[in-house]
Structure formats: C-alpha cells, structure tokens
Symmetry: C2
Subunit: 189 residues, 2 copies
C-alpha cells in the first residue's frame, strides 16, 4: 500500500536489531486518516470473504481494527494481555514476545468468541508470528473459523509470515519489509 510505505520512509525510524519505530503514526501517536485508509485497503483485500467479527489484541491493534469493524458494520473484540479481575469464562493462550523477551497470556471471553464465528484478525505488526499463533489457538479453542489475518506491517526477514501462511492462513500485509540492514528500509515488491 503506497500511502503506508511512503509514510514509513518519511516518518519511520530504524533502531539497531531490526526494530522499526512507527510510534509517530501507528503505535503511540496515531494518524486516524491513515488508519481509515489502511482499513479500507483491508476491506478490499478481504472482499468476498464471509466475516462476522473482527478480532485484535490490545493495544496497538485496536485503532486499525475498529476502523475495519466500522467499515464492515461488524463488532470488534480485543484480546486482553492480562486477565481482568471481573472477567470469567475466558479462553487463554500463551504468547512469547521476542521484543520483551518474556511470555505473557492473551485472553478473550467465551461470550465474544464462539463456535460459528468467522473471524478476521487485525494487528499492527507481523514479525515472529507468536501473537498470530496465539490467536489461532484461541480461535480453535472457541470452535470458530479464522477467515484471515491482516497486518499493517510485516517484517519478511522474520519468520511470522512464512509460519502463518504455511499453516494455511490467508495473510495480508499492507507493507512488507524485506530488510532493515544498515537501517535502510527495503520493501518487498
């Protein structure tokens, strides 16, 4: 998606270790106009698929997911990273974060992810695919169907894309970064 790639080149910052910082427009300060354009692009890419629910993970996935949900007229569920004290009847799975080098749980209420649901998952980054694997597990536990996964930015030099596509998931990423070597952003064409 041209608009996103240009924005990454203009406003993204590269840190050592393959980290791309986009906290100027995606995951700390957010550009709502860009969020809407990106959501429209997801709607185009998943057109024709039967979907009844958008799923994401707090916190950075919420903005793009709510924009997709708004355009499709569908409810949006965000998985939580800590089990809320007032929440029972949860589906839980473990996710390992390379960035933070620790394991955490993500959970979703059985009331909002159910057998028969046809789920489109939306998130900001696809890197090692660990959150994605956790989502697959939650969707399976619920007996729901994963229609696809849409990511704003995919790091093709990490193994998440291969892993999820290899598992048969329809993955769409709006900007695919082939390499960040020497802090130069190279997109996959």
């Amino acid at each position: 998606m041209k608009e996103l790639k240009e924005r990454i080149l203009n406003d993204g910052r590269c840190l050592p270790g393959g980290v791309l910082k986009v906290d100027n427009f995606i995951n700390h300060q957010m550009d709502p106009m860009l969020m809407k354009s990106m959501a429209e692009e997801f709607v185009r890419r998943f057109a024709g698929a039967e979907i009844n629910k958008i799923l994401t993970v707090e916190a950075s996935g919420i903005a793009p997911a709510i924009m997709v949900g708004y355009q499709l007229g569908l409810p949006v569920v965000f998985a939580k990273k800590n089990k809320p004290s007032t929440m029972e009847n949860m589906l839980v799975t473990e996710v390992f974060s390379f960035t933070k080098n620790k394991t955490y749980n993500i959970c979703v209420s059985r009331d909002y992810l159910q057998s028969g649901d046809k789920v489109l998952f939306i998130d900001d980054f696809l890197a090692n695919g660990n959150a994605g694997k956790g989502i697959i597990d939650l969707v399976e536990q619920a007996g729901a169907e994963l229609v696809g996964m849409g990511f704003l930015i995919e790091k093709a030099f990490q193994k998440g894309g291969e892993l999820l596509r290899g598992a048969g998931v329809h993955v769409e990423s709006l900007a695919i970064i082939e390499s960040l070597d020497n802090c130069e952003v190279r997109f996959k064409e």
Copy 2:
C-alpha cells in the same frame, strides 16, 4: 446521550461493589457504530474549543479516541501503561487503580505531548478520577494545555467527576450513573 444510556440498560451488567460491566459493547467487544456516534457527540460538546491533539490511555480509550480524532482530523496519542523498552524521552506519572488495588505508571513520549499542545483527553470510564489526575500531571509536565476531558460513562457516586471539575477541567460524560444500588442503573438527568 440517549443511545448510550439505552445500550447500558439493555446490555450492561452490574456486579457487586458498584461495578458496571460493559464488555459487550465498550471494553472487550466493541460496537464501532456506537463508538462513532459517541465520538460525534464529543465533537458537538467540545465544538468551539481549540484542540490540536487527542490524548487517551490504552487500551479501552483507544477506540473512542481514534473516532474523535478521525472526525476532527487530529492526531491521537495513547499513553502507555508500561514503559516500552524502545522508548526514551518519556513523561511518566503514577496512577492508583482502585479496581486492581495497585499503582501503575502511565507514560507518554515528550515527542508527542509538547508545550503549546491543546489537548482533549478521551477515556471510557470516569470513576475515582485517578487516571484523570495522572493525565493532568502529564499535560502539566509537558507544558501543554488541557482543553477538556470526555468520558463515555461517569459514575457520579464516585469522586472523580467532582475532583476533576473542582480542578477547573471541562468534563463531559455521555452517560452519568447516579447509583448502581441493588444493581439497578439509575442515570443522572
């Protein structure tokens, strides 16, 4: 706001201890159409105010905030509850959560909250006002100006509304709950 009050009466659930659960349409599963309507109502209530930035706190504030930002064409910054490892140059403040009975930090980058900013804060709940106090502190640290605070739901039987209005903040809440006694929702007219 009539639409929100009706939704609370239809889909909200009351738990012992003055807890109102709205995880069906606000803070776990979200209704994007309602989010948009609520954002429009905030835009009306803060019409005429000079605003250049929307501020919220992860995670439940993000959806209403991004909808407000979209309608006003303004950037949206979400304060984080854990200091990200790749983030430097932060403004930090302490917030005590009654629900979780613990103190946590919220933080925002100095890059995205600056002197001269005219900030509208948006969040889902106003209860004891502790997150609100934290936001006032962050805005002051930045040398920015707090134009107002908009909440989806205010619990008038807790002290947050009084505290923030007493501090001179322009507070707007879309549904004000006067009591949850015997788990009956009574709105303030």
